[in-house]
C-alpha cells in the first residue's frame, strides 16, 4: 500500500516537471518572437546582400578560385624585423591596413585611458557634462571632419600658414597625404569608441577597493598598478577590439588624408568595384571579413568573451 502511494507521488512529480518544462519552452518562444522583426530585417537587408556580394568571389566572372590567385602569387618582399617576407602588392595593402589599425588602436588607448580615468574619477554629474566633449565628434560626419583635417594640414593650410608667417619655416611642411595625416584623422574619429567602453568599465569599479588598497599600505602607484589597472582591463579589451575592427574597414579618411602608399583594404575593394572587377573585390572583402573574425576570435579566446563584454564585477 505504502509502495503504491509512493509510485503515484513519483508519477505526479514527473507530470509536474513536464509542466514546468512546457512553461519554460513557452517563455523561450516569447523571446524568439521579440527578436523576430529585427532578425527578419537583418536577414533581408543585410545578410542577403552581403552573402550575395561575397559569394561573387567564387563565380564572377567564371566559377572557381581564380579570384584569390593574385593574393597568393608572391612578387616582392618586405623587410620586417630584419626578415625578408615575400609579399605582393595586395598582401602589402592588408599589411598596411593591419599596421594602421594597430597604431590607431594603441595611440587611441594611450590617449583615451587617461581621459576615461579622469571622467570616472569626477562626480557623475560633472562626468556627464564632460562626456559631451567626448561625444561632439560623434555628431559631426566623418567626411566633414576629414575635410577639416585637410584644411588644417594642407600646403596652404592653417598650420603651414602660421609656420610661414611666424618665420619658423621658409617652405611649407608636407603634412597632408602622409601616414601621419591618416593617423591623426583616424585617431580623432576613433577616440570616443575607445573612451566609452573604458569609461563604462571604470565607472563600475568600486572606489572602496582603491581605498581598501591604500588602507592596506599601497601607495597610489601600487593602487593603480595592482587594483585599478587589472580591473579596467575588460574595458581596455573592449575598446581595443572595437577600435581595431572599425579601423580595419576605414575608407574615407585614408582616401582623403593618405598618400599614394597609404592604401587600405577598403580603398582597394572600392577601386576593384569601380573597375567592375566584382569578383576580385568580393574576394578581398571576404579575406578582410575573415581577418576581422579571426582577430575577434583570438581576442575572446585569450581574454574570454565575458571579460571583453562583461563589466568589471566587484
Amino acid at each position: 500500500m505504502a509502495a503504491l502511494t509512493h509510485d503515484l507521488q513519483g508519477a505526479d512529480r514527473e507530470g509536474q516537471v513536464a509542466r514546468f518544462q512546457h512553461l519554460r519552452r513557452r517563455e523561450q518562444w516569447r523571446y524568439v518572437l521579440l527578436l523576430l522583426p529585427a532578425v527578419v530585417f537583418l536577414i533581408a537587408f543585410y545578410g542577403y546582400p552581403v552573402a550575395a556580394m561575397l559569394t561573387r568571389a567564387f563565380y564572377d566572372p567564371v566559377p572557381g578560385l581564380q579570384n584569390f590567385e593574385p593574393l597568393v602569387t608572391a612578387r616582392s618582399t618586405v623587410e620586417f624585423l630584419g626578415l625578408s617576407i615575400p609579399m605582393n602588392a595586395y598582401i602589402r595593402v592588408f599589411w598596411i591596413t593591419l599596421q594602421i589599425a594597430a597604431v590607431v588602436t594603441i595611440v587611441s588607448l594611450l590617449l583615451g585611458y587617461p581621459v576615461a580615468y579622469a571622467l570616472s574619477s569626477v562626480s557623475a554629474s560633472r562626468a556627464n557634462l564632460l562626456m559631451i566633449f567626448v561625444l561632439i565628434p560623434f555628431w559631426t560626419s566623418i567626411l566633414v571632419r576629414s575635410y577639416a583635417w585637410m584644411v588644417l594640414l594642407g600646403k596652404e593650410g592653417i598650420i603651414n600658414e602660421a609656420l610661414l608667417a611666424a618665420g619658423l619655416r621658409t617652405e611649407p611642411l608636407v603634412l597632408l597625404n602622409t601616414r601621419l595625416a591618416v593617423y591623426l584623422g583616424m585617431i580623432h574619429i576613433m577616440l570616443p569608441f575607445m573612451i566609452l567602453p573604458l569609461y563604462a568599465v571604470m565607472r563600475g569599479i568600486d572606489r572602496n577597493l582603491l581605498r581598501a588598497a591604500g588602507n592596506l599600505g599601497a601607495p597610489p602607484s601600487a593602487v593603480f598598478r595592482r587594483i585599478f589597472l587589472p580591473l579596467s582591463l575588460p574595458g581596455v579589451a573592449a575598446g581595443c577590439l572595437l577600435v581595431f575592427i572599425l579601423s580595419l574597414g576605414f575608407y574615407i579618411t585614408p582616401a582623403l588624408l593618405g598618400g599614394q602608399k597609404d592604401v587600405m583594404v577598403s580603398m582597394l575593394i572600392q577601386q576593384q568595384i569601380s573597375l567592375l572587377k566584382w569578383g576580385f573585390g568580393a574576394a578581398l572583402a571576404l579575406v578582410l571579413l575573415i581577418l576581422a573574425l579571426g582577430i575577434y576570435a583570438l581576442f575572446t579566446r585569450v581574454l574570454g568573451v565575458e571579460r571583453v563584454f562583461g563589466s568589471a564585477r566587484t
Binding site: N208, L209, G214, N215, L216, R226
Partner: protein, 372 residues
C-alpha cells in the same frame, strides 16, 4: 579628558593596541556638518563602538582616522602622534569595509598577501602568515578561492583576516555585519569579540544596531547629528542615559513630560499634568521651574494594587492595550492627563495580569528613573 578606565590586559599575541584620541574633530561638506566637535579618548586595546542612526557621522569619523577624509578642524592622535600629515597607506590602521571591499580579481590568498607584499615581506613568510591568519578566522585552506566563490559570512571573515594580517595597532570596522542575517550576525559578533580578546588590538566599531553595540563594546559613543551625545559602558548608557535621544536609541524608554517643581537634596520633584508630583534623582544643570522629562524603562515598572511603598512613584491609569509575548505581557497604560506608559510584566505566578480597559496602578522605584 581622562583615559578610559577599562584598559584590558588579556594575553596578547599581536602586541598591544594603540591609544586613539579624537581632539575636537570637525568635518564639513560645504554647509553640511558631518562631524561636529567630536572628542573621544580610546584606550589601548579598548573596543569602542560608534552607535547612531543613518547620517550621524559614523563612517566619516572612521574615514578621517583611516586618512580618506581630512578633518576641517581638530586633530587625531594615535599613540600621542598627530596623524594629519601621514598618508593613508602609512597609517598602519586596519579597516573592514561595510561591503568588505575584497579585490575581486585576486584569490583569498592574494587578497591577504597584498598588505604583506606592500610591506616587502618575503614569499615564504607571506605564505606562513596567510595560513596562520586564515586559521585564526576559521577558514584554513581557502587561499585559492575567489571572493565571489564565498558566502557573505566567509567574505566577512576574509576581510577581517586581511585587515589583521599586518598586525595593525588599530582596527576599524564599518558595519561589518550589516549585510548578514541575524543568526550569522550574532555568531560573528561573538567571534569578533573573541578575536579582540585574543589580539588586544584597539577596535573602533561602527553599527546602528544598539543590541550589537551593547553585546560587543567596552564603551559606546552614541552619535547623533555629527555629535557624540554620550559615551560610556553599555550599563551606563542603559541605566544612566543623559539625553532623551540616548534613552530612546538604546533600549525602550517611557517619557513623562513635566516641570521640575523643586529640589530636595538629591531628589527632584516633577509636576506632571494630571499625575501630581513624581520623584527622580536630581541631575545638575536643571533649574527649578524648567521643563523636564522623567524617563523610566518598561521593565522597571511594576503593576500592582496592593499599596504603595515610600520609595515608589505611583500613578493610576487604565490598560489601553495588552500584548502577550510569551515570557511577558506588554501593557500600554493610559494615564490621566493624556500621557502613556509602556510596561513589561513577567509571565509567572504571583504577577497579576490585566485586561484591556482594567484600572491599573503602576509604580517604579525612584532610583530607576532619570531626568533628561
Amino acid at each position: 579628558m581622562t583615559v578610559a578606565a577599562q584598559v584590558r590586559t588579556p594575553e596578547k599575541i599581536g602586541g598591544l593596541g594603540a591609544r586613539v584620541l579624537f581632539d575636537r574633530i570637525e568635518k564639513r561638506y560645504g554647509p553640511v556638518i558631518a562631524v561636529d566637535e567630536v572628542s573621544l579618548d580610546i584606550a589601548p586595546g579598548e573596543f569602542v563602538t560608534l552607535l547612531g542612526p543613518s547620517g550621524s557621522g559614523k563612517t566619516t569619523s572612521l574615514m578621517m582616522l583611516a586618512g580618506f577624509e581630512i578633518p576641517t578642524a581638530g586633530e587625531i592622535y594615535v599613540d600621542d602622534d598627530p596623524i594629519a600629515a601621514v598618508p593613508p597607506y602609512r597609517r598602519n590602521i586596519g579597516m573592514v569595509f561595510q561591503n568588505y571591499a575584497l579585490f575581486p580579481h585576486m584569490t583569498v590568498g592574494e587578497n591577504i598577501a597584498f598588505p604583506l607584499q606592500m610591506r616587502k615581506i618575503g614569499r615564504s613568510e607571506i605564505a606562513r602568515q596567510t595560513r596562520d591568519v586564515l586559521e585564526l578566522v576559521g577558514l584554513p585552506g581557502y587561499e585559492g578561492r575567489y571572493p565571489k566563490q564565498l558566502s557573505g559570512g566567509q567574505q566577512q571573515r576574509i576581510a577581517v583576516a586581511r585587515a589583521l594580517v599586518f598586525n595593525p595597532r588599530v582596527l576599524l570596522m564599518d558595519e561589518p555585519l550589516g549585510a548578514l542575517d541575524k543568526q550569522l550576525r550574532e555568531h560573528l559578533q561573538l567571534e569578533i569579540k573573541a578575536l579582540h580578546d585574543k589580539l588586544g588590538v584597539t577596535i573602533i566599531y561602527v553599527t546602528h544596531d544598539q543590541e550589537e553595540a551593547l553585546v560587543m563594546s567596552d564603551r559606546i559613543a552614541v552619535m547623533n547629528n555629527g555629535r557624540i551625545e554620550q559615551c560610556g559602558g553599555p550599563t551606563d548608557l542603559y541605566d544612566e542615559p543623559e539625553t532623551r535621544f540616548v534613552a530612546t536609541f538604546i533600549g525602550e524608554s517611557n517619557f513623562i513630560d513635566g516641570v521640575l517643581a523643586r529640589a530636595d537634596g538629591a531628589i527632584g520633584y516633577v509636576e506632571a499634568p494630571g499625575l501630581g508630583s513624581l520623584r527622580a534623582p536630581l541631575k545638575p544643570g536643571i533649574a527649578a521651574g524648567s521643563p523636564v522629562a522623567l524617563t523610566v524603562r518598561p521593565e522597571k515598572i511594576i503593576a500592582h494594587d496592593n499599596g504603595a511603598s515610600s520609595h515608589l512613584n505611583t500613578v493610576d491609569g487604565t490598560v489601553a492595550d495588552v500584548v502577550f509575548v510569551g515570557e511577558m505581557r506588554r501593557y500600554v497604560v493610559a494615564l490621566p492627563g493624556g500621557q502613556r506608559l509602556v510596561l513589561k510584566a513577567q509571565n509567572r505566578s504571583g504577577v497579576q495580569s490585566f485586561n484591556r480597559g482594567d484600572a491599573i496602578r503602576v509604580g517604579w522605584s525612584v532610583d530607576d528613573c532619570r531626568l533628561v
